[in-house]
């Protein structure tokens, strides 16, 4: 009996997380388009609902009812698999993100996370790297020039920033002494306990790595519209296409922002000024600020060339993150 109830609770919780993420991602598209509009001095979505509030729903319906085109020469299995391979790893990171401490409502203990395993951060890192297969499969399976070049470029960008990202995460791990995201948050006490004060180098490296992993502008060579039409998803249409930007630009950026908030800004911690739900409010506020920072970078900066990107990764970011490990080790030893 107990195992059945566990499964039911897990399924319901997972459904809430996944569908909630979908809804959030849908409205993040609206926020991004509004933001982009105002950056470029135009109103953005305006006509569907009040100031475009229903635009995400209209977009979802449109994407779902577009013809499911499969070009002639593609590898059909990989072509469909690529959409899934981009989407599933991006949302899997959500499973290890804790949104707060367990709370008690009507006598039930509710845990605002799917699972708290002791290698949470490594899993997040692993899923982040797996998501590259979606892009490469899409580029390969399309059997067309622009997707191919886009996929290969993304691979070049990712193999550089993956190493830097891994080493940059070592700093906060050393401070917290754990891979579990929940324990990392608990290790950050108070305003000056947040790891951002001790790990500014790691934070800079991780900012760059997140921009590169989610393909946002200084690093969006894989879909550079001016050169590659739309990059790796040129041949895609309908929902197969819809999953790519959803996974990469919205779900990916959201969950990686959440990881950055957990590592450096104390996760859900903050003054209890919003009552019982203040941990959630603080967490979402911080993640939202991170997300808006990425949007700000995306819509104001020009793009690097692909060779510049890989050289920044290997010649600047990797030494910086190694230096950060060294400094952190010495500080911990001196402080005892």
């Amino acid at each position: 009996m107990e195992i059945i109830s566990t499964v039911v609770v897990l399924v319901v919780k997972s459904l809430i997380f996944i569908l909630g993420m979908f809804l959030a991602a849908a409205y993040l598209t609206l926020i991004e388009r509004k933001f982009a509009g105002h950056v470029q001095q135009r109103p953005g979505p305006l006509h569907v609902g009040f100031h475009g509030l229903l635009q995400p729903i209209a977009d979802a319906l449109k994407v779902l009812t577009k013809e499911d085109l499969v070009p002639n020469n593609v590898d059909k299995v990989l072509f469909y698999l690529a959409s899934l391979m981009a989407f599933v790893p991006a949302i899997m990171i959500l499973a290890v993100i804790p949104f707060g401490d367990p709370i008690k409502i009507f006598g039930f203990e509710i845990k605002p996370y799917i699972t708290d395993i002791n290698v949470g951060l490594i899993l997040a890192l692993a899923f982040g790297s797996i998501s590259i297969y979606g892009v490469i499969f899409a580029g390969w399976a399309s059997n067309s020039k622009y997707p191919m070049i886009g996929g290969l470029r993304k691979a070049a960008v990712l193999i550089g920033y993956e190493v830097a990202l891994g080493f940059a995460m070592v700093g906060p791990i050393m401070m917290a002494g754990s891979f579990s995201l929940r324990e990392i948050v608990q290790a950050q006490e108070g305003f000056f306990g947040a790891f951002i004060w001790y790990q500014p180098l790691a934070f800079i490296v991780i900012l760059f790595a997140i921009l590169a992993e989610t393909g946002r502008t200084p690093f969006d060579v894989q879909e550079a519209e001016a050169e590659l039409v739309s990059g790796y998803n040129t041949e895609y249409s309908g929902m197969k296409f819809g999953l790519f930007p959803l996974a990469e630009w919205y779900i990916g950026t959201f969950v990686l922002s959440a990881i950055a908030v957990i590592l450096f800004f104390g996760g859900w911690k903050g003054p209890h000024i919003f009552g019982a739900f203040s941990p959630f409010i603080w967490f979402f506020l911080k993640v939202f600020m991170m997300f808006m920072f990425f949007l700000w970078v995306h819509w104001t900066l020009p793009r690097y060339r692909v060779d510049q990107i890989t050289e920044i990764a290997w010649k600047v970011m990797l030494p910086l993150s190694l230096l950060n490990i060294f400094i952190t080790a010495i500080i911990i030893m001196v402080k005892g």
């Binding site: 459904l15 996944i18 013809e67 499911d68 290969l152």
Partner: protein, 123 residues
């Protein structure tokens, strides 16, 4: 109760199911209007020149790919060290520090060698 990896597996299955359901829903809902050129690969409106891209492509970052394997393996060794560092540093700080940095130093030497040889350049 603690769900551990079981929770992860359930989440994974649901994520795959929902992703696949969206693709299938698209296929069921969408109209199908065959057009002679709808399966044509994108090529700026001119007749397609290369029939396929599944040929040999010059990859500019082959050496970087090799270095990735090296450094990712290295980070796999650094992670466990990082987790216990704070604990062990209280009893034997010099030992755990020098041990890891001898390991890192060897790899940093290799990294400097690769840099000097021009392996980090986009070729």
């Amino acid at each position: 109760m603690e769900t551990g990896y079981f929770g992860l597996a359930v989440f994974f299955i649901l994520a795959v199911v929902i992703g696949a359901a969206l693709l299938i829903l698209n296929r069921l809902l969408a109209p199908r209007t065959p057009e002679p050129y709808e399966g044509y690969p994108y090529e700026c409106g001119v007749p397609i020149y290369d029939k396929t891209t599944w040929t040999t492509i010059d990859q500019k970052y082959y050496l970087l790919g090799l270095l990735l394997v090296l450094f990712d393996l290295e980070s796999a060794f650094v992670f466990p060290w990082a987790v216990i560092f704070k604990e062990v540093a209280q009893v034997a700080s010099g030992f755990i520090f020098t041990e890891m940095f001898i390991f890192l130093l060897i790899l940093i030497l290799g990294y400097i060698y690769a840099w000097k040889k021009g392996a980090l350049k986009w070729q």
